[in-house]
Symmetry: C2
Subunit: 259 residues, 2 copies
């Protein structure tokens, strides 16, 4: 079977699906082919089949987008959703108290992946969206996740590259090591302007059994408006509640929905 693009069917499908993002949720076929670096005929054939299975959708204007079925499969099957479901009610409580954006993130493939963000209408900051990625050294969230990773993993990340995102991003490995030690001791980190100049992030770890970090909980303030002394105890309490809810989860609970 001739292999356009030199990779497998699955590889090509992944490239097609990865061509969409939040600024390009619908794409014409030719743009999609370009972005996925695939011949138009291959793209056409694969898109037809993906549409048939509901993984892609074709609008009346012929533009292609990610299908609901793909979202359904991933939302229903993913372990991530166990974490998100356990965390969401507590995140809402925290947002009600602090009146700032609250987010939940995990460490995945060398970066911070945000699983959920609750935007506060009282915040002056434009809230980020779900499913965004951020460099580990460039935000409070990433530094908390990194602090509780293995020494080998930390060494790998600290060996770079470590980009400057703002003037305040810490990129010196020695200084970063000191930050990580501090985070392990204090169980929170406060980063003013590390990732975005006028943002301050405060993050705390959500710890699993055996001292492994499961996720990080973050609150974002406009710089100069943060209240670390108020936020941290509330966040640490909520993180403990989430950890307990995850430990208690759900398989058993799932059975009795229709009783």
């Amino acid at each position: 079977m001739p292999d356009s693009g030199g990779d497998s069917v699955i590889g090509r499908v992944v490239r097609l699906l990865s061509a969409f993002d939040r600024n390009s949720r619908s794409l014409p076929l030719t743009t999609l082919a370009n972005r996925a670096d695939l011949p138009l005929t291959t793209t056409h054939r694969l898109v037809n089949e993906l549409v048939k299975h509901g993984l892609l959708e074709r609008a009346p204007n012929k533009e292609i987008s990610i299908g609901l079925r793909l979202w359904e499969i991933s939302a229903r099957g993913s372990h991530t959703m166990t974490l998100r479901e356990a965390a969401l009610p507590f995140m809402e409580d925290l947002q009600t108290i602090l009146r700032q954006h609250v987010s939940l993130a995990v460490l995945d493939a060398g970066s911070v992946l945000f699983l959920e963000r609750l935007a506060s209408p009282d915040s002056t900051l434009d809230a980020g969206r779900m499913a965004e990625r951020y460099p580990l050294h460039g935000c409070s969230t990433g530094l908390v996740l990194l602090a509780f990773s293995s020494p080998e993993y930390q060494a790998k990340v600290l060996s770079g590259p470590l980009d400057k995102l703002t003037d305040r991003t810490v990129t010196d490995p020695v200084l970063l090591r000191r930050i990580l030690a501090e985070v392990r001791q204090q169980r929170f980190f406060y980063a003013a302007g590390f990732g975005i100049e006028r943002w301050s992030g405060i993050a705390v770890p959500i710890m699993g059994e055996h001292g492994a970090v499961i996720a990080a909980l973050t609150v974002v303030y406009a710089r100069g408006e943060e209240n670390v002394l108020t936020a941290v105890p509330a966040m640490q309490t909520v993180a403990t509640s989430i950890a307990r809810a995850i430990a208690a989860t759900p398989v058993a609970r799932d059975g009795n929905r229709s009783s």
Copy 2:
């Protein structure tokens, strides 16, 4: 190329991915092969490739689960997420006021698909989860979505099959037609015990431009505790706010995050 299972690579991949659900978020390879109705060798080969691309993950105990990358692709690219992001802050407001579970759903492939559910700690009901499906005639949500569908689509759904989910599920097409007419006029529906005996649902439509229904907003009460007169005006107000937020969305807004 020999085709184990008689279908395409994409078809087989869809069967593998669909084998997971919220009660089986991790599966051993043999169970996965059985569920997907594929030979063990084919399953093994496809799983290896899907793990390589991050669409599946393999735990230290060798069990397979849906990968974060699949969730990331679908959450970032899907139009559904535009809707969910626009709706979430208003759903939180509604939950704060009514102190009951609030959900957001769309009509997809002949059934109700729940995109989001905010569980209220004050409710005595076990909240459902995201990405669940429900028959259109078996809940207030489905009847609201169906009421604003095309007459042809309604006729197709009403021609059955229409299962009885509880003693109170309406399955008579004549009666259902009357319900749909009522929903179009009143712009809400209150269903006591249609889908689950001891639940009552109240649903309102979220209308797009040109009078098409985009989604439905639902509040669930324990039967006997519902307060329709309080809930409906609050829900209709919130549905209008969500519709306005969707109309105003986002592409333009997305650009200025890191400013």
